[in-house]
């Protein structure tokens, strides 16, 4: 499967891109709207000046145009102020504002019907671009048509537009930041149920819970339900496999028991050979059933098992099983200690070790548990029996090897202890106990 970008990244990137696009479109639209507004206002203003100019025009004796009333805007009087007017007859300027000084406005030679406004861009005094609005009028009594023009420098308009664009750009940038932050917040809030789900999954893996039970939103609920079904299903499959393994064991072992009892009546040499094969078969059955069980356990999410009640239950059981020899079983286990694994595995490890202790003890078996460090515990079973011959420790862990054939047992116990400890990454060690007999220590994951 291709590793995808995180949901958070997808949502944030999507939000950021769409916010940027929307704001860019809004920026361009607002800017052009403002520019249109500026132009309209300028056109209106220049149109007003033209009206005033037309109203102020009269005819001199020669029939030429003469300004009878000066225009009201004082800028027309100040040279090169940026606001100009001009009157032309047949393409030649005949009157112009004082502000134009000694310059004339060069206008394109288009034909103007009366009353219609024309708009041009032209070059004004000092080469400054200007916007020109012109119209032509026919004064009563005049022979020629006058072409009236009012012009204003573009500089003021351009400056206003640039300032507007800068302010708009800054505002939109701030808006984009705020919106992106809001989107990030929304994503975080929206994804929180998933984070909770992930935390619960981690707890399930760590064995602190068995299923999802936090309230999640309706959109995530099906996922949580499916995961719960999956967990229940795998637990059920493991349970069924165990029952089937148990049934198989029951059938095989009952059969082996029947054959073993029939053998008792046979010739001693034959009986011995058959019994040897039967013991081998039993060892294989036990070993492989144990492994199947252990493999099933290893694949499941972790568990946590309290040590003290488990050791106490095993102590009760072993006291019954060894009621004839009646060794004293002494337990030393802090109440809060736990094993990070399945109870049945712990029982299998401790049961075999304590059973060996009870078989060999003269009077006393000591079972103790303590923390060995962060995330690790040590279980120790020792007795006051004869202990081991020097150098025979390694043979103890080999499947089916028995150091003493006089005590009942299949020699499987310590092999199972080794296999299960290895499954949990633990280790088995042998030493001489201060009580005189054997001391077996198993290091396993666990803690308080």
């Amino acid at each position: 499967m291709r590793p995808g970008y995180s949901l958070r990244f997808r949502l944030l990137a999507g939000a950021a891109v769409s916010i940027a696009l929307a704001l860019a479109v809004a920026g361009v639209g607002l800017s052009s709207l403002f520019a249109g507004h500026l132009r309209e206002r300028l056109d209106l203003e220049l149109g007003n000046h033209l009206d005033q100019l037309a109203a102020g025009l009269g005819l001199d004796d020669a029939g030429g145009p003469v300004l009878e009333r000066p225009l009201s805007d004082p800028r027309f009087q100040r040279p090169l102020s940026g606001l100009y007017w001009q009157v032309a007859v047949a393409g030649a300027p005949v009157l112009r504002s004082r502000s134009l000084w000694d310059v004339t406005l060069a206008l394109p030679g288009d034909q103007l019907p009366d009353g219609v406004l024309h708009r041009h861009e032209a070059i004004g005094p000092n080469g400054v671009p200007v916007i020109v609005v012109e119209r032509s009028v026919q004064l009563p009594g005049a022979t020629a048509r006058f072409r009236l023009a009012a012009a204003e420098s573009r500089a003021a308009v351009d400056r206003a537009r640039a300032e507007f664009d800068r302010t708009l750009g800054l505002s939109l940038l701030v808006l984009m930041l705020v919106l992106t932050l809001a989107a990030a917040l929304q994503v975080a809030v929206g994804l929180r149920p998933l984070a909770r789900l992930r935390a619960e999954l981690a707890e399930i893996r760590a064995g602190r819970r068995g299923s999802f039970d936090a309230a999640v939103p309706a959109e995530v609920q099906p996922l949580a339900d499916d995961l719960n079904h999956l967990l229940a299903h795998s637990a059920e499959v493991v349970g069924r496999a165990r029952v089937q393994a148990g049934n198989l064991a029951h059938a095989l072992k009952t059969g082996l028991a029947v054959i073993g009892n029939e053998v008792d009546g046979l010739d001693a040499a034959v009986a011995g050979r058959i019994r040897g094969r039967l013991d081998d078969m039993l060892r294989h059955v036990n070993h492989h059933l144990g492994r199947a069980r252990a493999a099933a356990a290893g694949g499941l999410p972790g568990w946590r098992t309290e040590l003290a009640p488990t050791i106490a239950a095993l102590g009760r059981t072993l006291a019954s099983l060894h009621a004839e020899r009646a060794p004293a079983i002494v337990i030393d286990c802090p109440p809060a200690l736990t094993f990070a694994g399945e109870q049945e595995d712990l029982e299998e490890i401790l049961g075999n070790l304590m059973d060996n202790g009870c078989k060999w003890a003269a009077h006393r078996v000591l079972v103790s548990a303590r923390r060995a460090g962060p995330g690790s515990i040590v279980l120790t079973v020792e007795d006051d029996g004869p202990g081991l011959p020097a150098g025979s420790e390694a043979a103890l862990l080999i499947r089916g090897v028995r150091l003493d054939e006089t005590v009942p047992g299949s020699g499987l116990g310590l092999g199972i202890v080794r296999d299960l400890s290895a499954l949990y990454g633990g280790a088995v060690e042998f030493a001489r106990s201060a009580m005189g007999g054997l001391m077996v220590s198993v290091t396993l994951p666990g803690g308080v």
């Binding site: 148990g246 029951h250 004839e324 049961g351």
Partner: protein
């Protein structure tokens, strides 16, 4: 002390256990499922039960828990293929007194049944003794002043039961219930015959008749202190 109930659904194994127990001198009943076995255990006075766990109808642990809840207290040894320690813990916690896993050696089953019955009657040793009479329950051998005495299975059961209950009066009915299997044609008059034969083989002084009540073996004073009996 001599009557044992075996609850085992495997016909071959059931027959073997019944035969071995019979050879060792016990009267035996065999039940093939939990329903029948549970009923027999509640209604008949057995001295011990050999109980399989994987049974048809009602499983062994349920049978055991029902008995214990109903106050049925006879010793029970679980004989099962379930060899995991959590199963042993479950069995003992359900009220079993011992737990033996299949496959097993028949001698071991017999030794454990013997030990269970002995402990249930408060005897620490496998030897029962009263004056000159001694019984080794491991080998089912009886001796008088050190000389072996040959007894029939019924005679042996009557003697062991009375020896287990030394100092107590045992009624004919109680003896009948403990020495015969369920489907045996019981006749309490035969008890008198067995007692008469035992007196003939072991001497008149051992078994006393308590008129109208039953029989009693009275331990001699030195045996009382040795066995720690009242």
């Amino acid at each position: 002390m001599m009557r044992i109930l075996v609850i085992e659904d495997d016909p071959a194994l059931g027959a073997q256990v019944i035969e071995a127990l019979g050879r060792a001198g016990y009267a035996t009943d065999l039940a093939r499922d939990g329903e029948e076995g549970g009923f027999l255990g509640e209604t008949e006075p057995y001295d011990a039960v050999v109980l399989d766990l994987g049974l048809p109808e009602v499983d062994g642990l349920t049978v055991l828990r029902r008995w214990r809840k109903a106050g049925v207290a006879m010793p029970v040894i679980v004989l099962t293929a379930r060899a995991h320690w959590h199963e042993k813990v479950e069995g003992i916690d359900a009220g079993a007194d011992d737990y033996l896993t299949k496959p097993f050696r028949m001698e071991e089953l017999l030794a454990r049944v013997r030990a269970l019955i002995r402990r249930a009657h408060g005897h620490a040793s496998a030897d029962l003794a009263c004056g000159p009479v001694r019984i080794d329950t491991r080998t089912a051998r009886v001796s008088l002043d050190g000389n072996p005495v040959t007894l029939t299975a019924h005679e042996y059961r009557v003697l062991v039961y009375l020896m287990m209950k030394q100092g107590q009066i045992v009624t004919r009915t109680e003896l009948t219930e403990h020495i015969y299997a369920q489907d045996f044609d019981r006749d309490s008059n035969t008890i008198e015959v067995f007692v008469a034969r035992l007196r003939k083989k072991l001497g008149d002084g051992l078994i006393a008749t308590v008129r109208g009540l039953g029989y009693r073996i009275q331990p001699p004073p030195e045996a009382r202190s040795a066995e720690g009996l009242p």
